[in-house]
Symmetry: C2
Subunit: 214 residues, 2 copies
């Protein structure tokens, strides 16, 4: 049995459209977040809605992102309401009518107040590196105090979150299914290519084990 999120769904996160695709379980929310490294965060600056696209990573029941301490976006969202979204595009669904075309996806929406993390920043940055490149942190030139200072780390509780997952093929009504056109799914996935070493990369150092197919 999957553990429910503490406060989900709220009025803001409860899905109205295609609610059968909604999932408020922590395990599902965590899985979507762990699968995709890229997040888009809506916030307000000078009263206008803005989007920040950024890498994000999960630690327990919080999601984190980072940037320059001089970032206008991060400063603007500190202690303010934000909405973080993660979406993977998993397939194009081709039906017999334009109307029934759709996409397969996994998506996530988290609402809450963005908080600047001031304690233990380096440990969170380590968690980010280790999430992408397990084992790499200890191989790197150690982080310097001025680098930690120049980096802002932000966090958001996952307590108000919902996932939405769309799988499967086209759902044409019966009367359309004999229409003489190809129908099915074109899968999409974010894939890693072969690592390209820098010309002056350390001789004999093994390339990192980064292999995804999201």
């Amino acid at each position: 049995m999957k553990a429910p999120l503490p406060n989900a769904p709220t009025d803001r996160t409860r899905l109205r459209r295609f609610s059968e695709k909604a999932d408020y379980d922590a395990a599902t929310v965590h899985a979507v977040l762990d699968a995709a490294p890229l997040a888009h965060i809506a916030y307000q600056m000078n009263g206008a809605p803005m989007v920040l696209s950024t890498l994000a990573w999960r630690e327990g029941d919080r999601v984190f992102w980072h940037g320059s301490s001089a970032s206008r976006a991060l400063k603007a969202m500190r202690d303010q309401a934000v909405c973080l979204s993660v979406t993977t595009l998993d397939g194009l669904v081709l039906a017999r009518s334009a109307f029934e075309h759709s996409v397969q996806f996994r998506s996530l929406m988290v609402m809450g107040q963005a908080q600047e993390v001031t304690e233990g920043k380096e440990a969170h940055l380590q968690a980010m590196v280790e999430r992408l490149f397990p084992g790499r942190w200890d191989q790197l030139r150690p982080m310097q105090p001025q680098e930690v200072k120049a980096t802002m780390v932000m966090a958001l509780d996952l307590s108000e979150a919902s996932a939405k997952i769309a799988k499967g093929g086209p759902t044409d009504p019966d009367e359309d299914r004999a229409w003489p056109v190809w129908a099915g799914v074109v899968p999409l996935s974010l894939q890693t290519g072969a690592p390209l070493a820098e010309p002056d990369s350390a001789e004999g150092a093994p390339a990192p084990q980064v292999s995804w197919s999201l």
Copy 2:
């Protein structure tokens, strides 16, 4: 020479951080938008920032998206300020220090007022289908009036837009380059897989020519 966008950059779209990666030319903005089908749109609902992730497509100097006429999100953003973002994740950049790690990406931000399109909706939906699946529209069961009615089409001018593109490898300072760790780039791309036909897909109908590597 690339044509400049009419009003770019404005104070809101001019990039401050890594401004050498910024590009306000229409040709670059169009290219990023044409490359990636998924957009994230920030808007406000009940005073809170929200994100809608949706497919988007370009026609001339406007970007379009669509959804159900009953969509709360689309109704909330109608005639309101929005910020549309498109981001492709093109590579992970591994440096000798955690601080110099980065990503290769192409991204786009468009600000403006979202407008509902009420005239010629079907032609815009055709443009969407043709952008993803050239030649497919004419093969489909024709769109029915109630399907057009059930669909809301939205548009946003590209007049206030900026692109940001990050290529290349790690930029470690000289004193770090001999550190004994692998350094380079792990490419990432969104790729199509082999089409999976529905069991009752029309016999002999050719699979669509959808082949990407974004």
